[in-house]
Symmetry: C2
């Protein structure tokens, strides 16, 4: 008799695991059932802001593989609009509710893939009885927001709460639809994915785009009219809003796991070993936005929900479920984004993370350009490096620049991954031609500056 | 009494060494004299094609630091249009000829910095009695070519001989000035800096720009009219040419060094140790296009003349001359270039290099896109990886893509530098957002494909 894999959550982690397991085990050997409470499978959540702004016109474009493809090509029994409500580890069964047809099913499993993702953090003030308040994490969330923006009476003013990269991307998206947008951030700067000194450029760019930015301000409540949001109440005056978008980050969906007794780590997400197995529980795997990962720089478990991790972890889990061997060696928190034409990249620890992890360090910012200074189209680029003291080991890096900037973080990410020192980095053989960089690449200039700073701090 | 440093060659390597030595030793401690046979100091030779095409309007823009700056700020006695004709190691003197004033000077040194650069290879058929044939290595070369292109009778057809990256960049530059251009390449493809399978895209791009490309053809002579070139004679029919540009690579200028008995390595360039000292000779240093470097992948000495190496090596030499400590750890041959909007990057060994070095390897090409497939402006990008068999160690990488492609080679260069295996690379934490890459970065897709190829080849 075929063994049976049940997948909870039909997005990147779960469905990648399903397809990798399938590659190694045919339908005769392994039956696969996937439950997804939403309407879609395997989509690009990171693309949602671009769908909201209409840069991407059709949500179908965001779908990597639709349920029919999984059913036909991968022989996965995909059940949309089914929410798993319980995991019974003793009987090795899950209980799922059919959100549309009604009723409940019980399905046994030999292997269980837990990939429930994460949910936008809803603060207490975001009352569910007031319409017009949206988190944006799933395609269903995106569809609801788009519908709200398009339906009469058309919203004209928006408040985005929280200035992480999702908040910033959503603020730009909504602005591009013609609404006036106010971004409210509790800290001193939006774009908290980089340190405040680097985030300043991002603030400036958002201002120049016509966005209102309110920092050092907290939202404490909502004002409503006829059940629709009309303003957010803040620690200062209220800010009018026909629509409110929550960009306060996400929480891992671990309710089911907790109820079943799966181990939750110090980050609040599910613990796994390097093969993405839930430790201490036979045949249970987890991956994606609901798990924590080892941060290779700090050595600490962290919850960083990123699509790339979900895909990689899902692949590792699926290979292992299929009888192969693969491990996930951890993360370093690399991310890239853009606001207008301003590009932002980061990897490793920010200063605040380095402090929290107990590192001693120096940090430097090198101002350079994207191309040779004399070459047309050369634009400013700032590279920040954080290096451990006295070892010189790179701990983190950030890049903010006007063009051709963000993906340069990858070279720094690979250096960080390999635990290079800034001294070693000064010799790196990077590509140079006048349309692509100054003869001293901005990354190398920053490395030299960090070496100098280390010398000065030890001298 | 102050010690005395004599620098032979006033471009990147020599003048970077001079300024680094100066930072550590003031004029009271160290006198610095620099001889340069041309008219300029410290310029961007890599920028010359863009000056020829008028993308860069003024050659002054290519000059990083002019002689006056060196004299005033760095107290370097810069003597332009002075050619050093002999090095007397016993008397520790150089002999220099004043190319304009005439006459000869002898100057003693305590330290000697040999930075004579390289000269374009002139084949036998490039007779000096026929005008209109140019190598392009120095600003003086560039000025001569520009003058020829501008003077009456205006040249209308050009032949570029050799399809390395300088040949390809010069061909595009001359085409942009309105001449008809034929590129003649002996091998099967131009852009020999990457393997033929990757270079095909470059050929196509050059064709679409309106360039004639003749491959498998050798130039054997010149036809002339009134002392001016009128055509090149080839192994097939002659090709008309009012101007001929040599893109056959360069040879290190080692004549002076050989005459003085400095050691020449197997690559034909000067040997140095890791501190850029010429071994076996007290107080003599060398750097830049005239020296050979350790290739970190093959372990062999190689002559790869690149501005980035000249700058890095000059810096290392200057720090050491000034009494500091620095080493140059070798090269991996990273380079980037573009033809029209097609970008090309490479690092490490090409297939032919890997064969020549005795490696066993697999190679794969992954076809991907610069951005998420659904994101506007997403363009094709091919990533080639060459991995040692069976270790999986990365030996080389190449990228060809239509936009935002070339500098991605840097992440691969850092991976190569750190001797990563393609298996390790599949887990790399690279930046992802829809405007910047698919969720599986092209580099990661290529790494996965290489892992599969290694598995298949061992199975």
């Amino acid at each position: 008799m075929a063994r049976r894999l049940i997948v909870i959550g039909g997005d990147a982690a779960g469905m990648t695991a399903a397809s990798q397991a399938r590659r190694r085990r045919g339908p005769d050997e392994l039956e696969i059932v996937a439950f997804e409470r939403g309407h879609y499978t395997s989509y690009s959540a990171c693309g949602i802001p671009y769908w909201i702004s209409s840069v991407v016109s059709d949500p179908e474009q965001l779908i990597a593989r639709d349920p029919e493809t999984f059913r036909r090509q991968f022989h996965v029994d995909v059940r949309l609009r089914h929410e798993v409500t319980a995991i019974d580890l003793d009987r090795r069964e899950v209980v799922a509710r059919d959100l549309e047809g009604g009723g409940e099913v019980r399905e046994r499993f030999d292997s269980l893939m837990y990939a429930t993702g994460a949910t936008p953090i809803k603060p207490d003030w975001a009352r569910t009885d007031v319409r017009g308040v949206f988190g944006v994490q799933t395609l269903d969330d995106g569809a609801a927001l788009r519908e709200w923006l398009d339906a009469a009476p058309k919203p004209r003013s928006a408040v985005v709460v929280g200035g992480g990269y999702i908040g910033v991307e959503m603020a730009e998206a909504i602005l591009r639809r013609g609404l006036s947008v106010t971004l409210i951030e509790r800290a001193e700067q939006p774009m908290s994915t980089v340190d405040a000194d680097m985030a300043e450029l991002v603030s400036d760019a958002m201002h120049s785009l016509g966005m209102q930015i309110r920092t050092g301000l907290s939202v404490t409540g909502l004002e409503e009219r006829d059940g629709r949001v009309s303003a957010v109440v803040t620690t200062e005056e209220p800010v009018p809003a026909d629509v409110v978008v929550l960009g306060l980050g996400v929480r891992p969906n671990v309710g089911l796991a907790e109820a079943a007794g799966l181990p939750i780590g110090p980050s609040g997400a599910i613990r796994t070993d390097r093969r993405m197995r839930v430790p201490g529980v036979e045949g249970v795997w987890a991956a994606g936005d609901c798990v924590e990962s080892l941060h290779r720089v700090s050595g600490m478990p962290v919850h960083i929900p990123l699509g790339t991790y979900a895909n990689k972890q899902g692949r590792v889990a699926g290979i292992n479920i299929g009888g192969g061997y693969a491990t996930f060696p951890g993360v370093i928190g690399t991310s890239v984004t853009k606001v207008c034409d301003l590009e932002v990249g980061r990897t490793g620890l920010r200063e605040r993370d380095a402090v929290a992890s107990g590192f001693e360090f120096v940090s430097v910012i090198a101002q350079s350009t994207s191309r040779a200074g004399y070459f047309p189209g050369s634009r400013p680029m700032a590279v920040k490096l954080i290096a451990e003291k006295p070892s010189g080991r790179l701990l983190g890096a950030q890049i903010v620049g006007w063009s051709e900037a963000a993906k340069r973080i990858d070279a720094l990410a690979v250096a960080l991954w390999n635990e290079m020192t800034v001294d070693d980095m000064t010799a790196l053989d990077l590509g140079y031609a006048p349309p692509f960089s100054p003869v001293w690449d901005p990354v190398l200039i920053a490395a030299r500056k960090a070496v100098d700073a280390l010398g000065a701090s030890s001298g």
